[in-house]
Symmetry: C2
Subunit: 333 residues, 2 copies
């Protein structure tokens, strides 16, 4: 039994059946009753496609993330999926990788699926070069675009994020006050979050009236042990750092392994601060001090924003929360 | 411009337009040409819903996993999504949690979305009690059901998995030969994978002709530090174990932290083997020896199986691969 059978049995056109399903007021009460009675009688329930066709929505959200094997992004997706599911929405997942061109083509693809909104999971989607964000602004003219942990100033783009700059500035200032003035800022990628963390690091030195060497800033993308080896070489050849502020906990663990390999006492001789409050930070001894960027709140706020936008309610374009410092064994403060 | 406009412009019914889009042979060549010309002329491309309605497929795969913030499951989802995407399929993600009733209702929900296949990510979906798997068998009568890392013997259910039992049996035998005969088998849940690992552990003791105490088997669900504390108590009160074979790397890291807290020398006094070859195992020092269950192969084989099934090709119902032992610092062999 499908929409064609219903139309045949009711002696009306498919368009009329569709209008009834759609709740259109262009159908007479008599016709509506006839169609609904036949639907009831035959036990017909419109299937997902037909509903999509008539209501012009499939109640789906497109979740774009660079790489869902990244623990932080996977945790975000887990929170988002549960939140949207609780609101009756499906999530189509799209792992885009980190390349701009691929991200652009995936966004186009996901829009062609007639999703109700697009959620950009992780700050890697926002580029420093303004023109490189034009595809996001274009997309936001079709559907609401919502960013988790990145901010883009555009009328139909809504962002919930952690104040990464402030968090990094605060802990770096603490390190300076403790006497650690040769801190290495180690980050993974020049994403929105990455350069805001960097800005926070620079600000702490500026506030303290200290000169910052460009050798104190290092962008590196590698796994835990590759990064440790790189740090061993960097220490020998380039810069004798006494502490590390890391853009994520994995980089923090690499710094931890570096310090152990050098025989430095943690935290007295060598202090380390990670970011994200993820599992890897409790696997090492002493455990890694870190910054918790309140991912659960950020994600639940993102879901709520999307629901409010889809219900026509006004939503703040930017919601920013402060991080929480988690003291463990790699810092004295 | 939509299907109604096309039908109006061509002077034919919507059903006819739909038949043309569908490639039905119940349309005259003349009508077909007229409809296609108007589509071309107006630049109309059928949208996703209309295509779904006519082809009765949305080219979507339902991915069910218990918890995608679990690193192992998230990595599987990442591989699967990339594989299905490369074949032109979208993935609807559904994080079901671990409760049977919730999993059942989510599976029902995902079937109502008219997915082309359902992939069960992780072995938690297969229950030991046969009746509790009936909902999966029922679903497999509607669409192909494919399991990653669990096996269920049913005509339309296809499984790719690692031989967990053999892998655990082998490393346990090695421990016995090294003189570690008070090994604790520590696992998280009585899932398909969990009880097969347990069976492998028991088999090693049987093969060696050694008696196995039921105190050597411990099922525990907790985070890394909770599990460490539990182990400290268990050691004091219940059983003085000399090594741990863990069902996953996180449990292995807990055992590592337990051994450090007790001051045991790893690996001479106390050996540990994890499972999954995940990131957490390289965060501790010495790094955790582990078993790699070849997740990437398992996932790519799963994608290929689904594609072959949907193309009407014959596919083995069960594909089993052996794990690879990764020697690191917590074992001597």
């Amino acid at each position: 039994m499908n929409i064609y059978d219903i139309s045949k049995k009711a002696g009306v056109s498919i368009a009329t059946v569709s209008r009834v399903m759609n709740g259109s007021d262009k159908v007479s009460e008599k016709t509506r009753k006839k169609v609904l009675d036949i639907m009831k009688e035959t036990g017909y329930t419109p299937n997902a496609f037909a509903r999509g066709l008539t209501f012009n929505t499939m109640s789906t959200i497109g979740l774009l993330c660079a790489d869902c094997s990244d623990h932080f992004l996977a945790t975000a997706i887990s929170y988002l999926e549960k939140g949207f599911r609780a609101n009756g929405y499906d999530c189509i997942l799209c792992c885009t990788g980190y390349e701009l061109a691929t991200r652009q083509s995936y966004l186009k693809l996901i829009l062609s699926k007639k999703v109700d909104a697009v959620v950009l999971v992780g700050s890697t989607f926002i580029e420093e070069n303004i023109e490189d964000n034009q595809y996001l602004i274009d997309a936001s003219l079709e559907v609401p675009v919502v960013s988790v942990n990145g901010y883009l100033d555009s009328p139909n783009i809504y962002c919930t994020l952690c104040d990464d700059a402030e968090a990094i500035c605060n802990v770096t200032t603490q390190l300076i006050q403790e006497g650690f003035q040769k801190t290495l800022f180690l980050y993974r990628s020049a994403s929105y979050s990455g350069w805001h963390k960097l800005a926070g690091f620079k600000k702490a030195y500026r506030n303290a009236g200290l000169e910052l060497s460009n050798k104190q800033i290092l962008c590196h993308h590698g796994d835990i042990n590759e990064t440790k080896e790189m740090l061993l070489q960097y220490y020998e050849k380039d810069f004798k750092f006494d502490s590390v502020v890391a853009g994520d906990d994995e980089l923090g663990v690499s710094a931890h392994k570096f310090a152990k390999a050098k025989g430095f006492h943690i935290p007295d001789e060598f202090s380390i601060i990670g970011y994200n409050n993820s599992k890897v930070g409790v696997c090492c001894e002493p455990e890694l001090s870190t910054l918790d960027n309140r991912l659960e709140f950020v994600c639940s706020n993102t879901v709520q924003s999307v629901m409010n936008i889809l219900n026509g309610q006004s939503v703040p374009r930017k919601t920013m929360v402060s991080a929480e410092y988690i003291k463990r064994g790699t810092t004295n403060f």
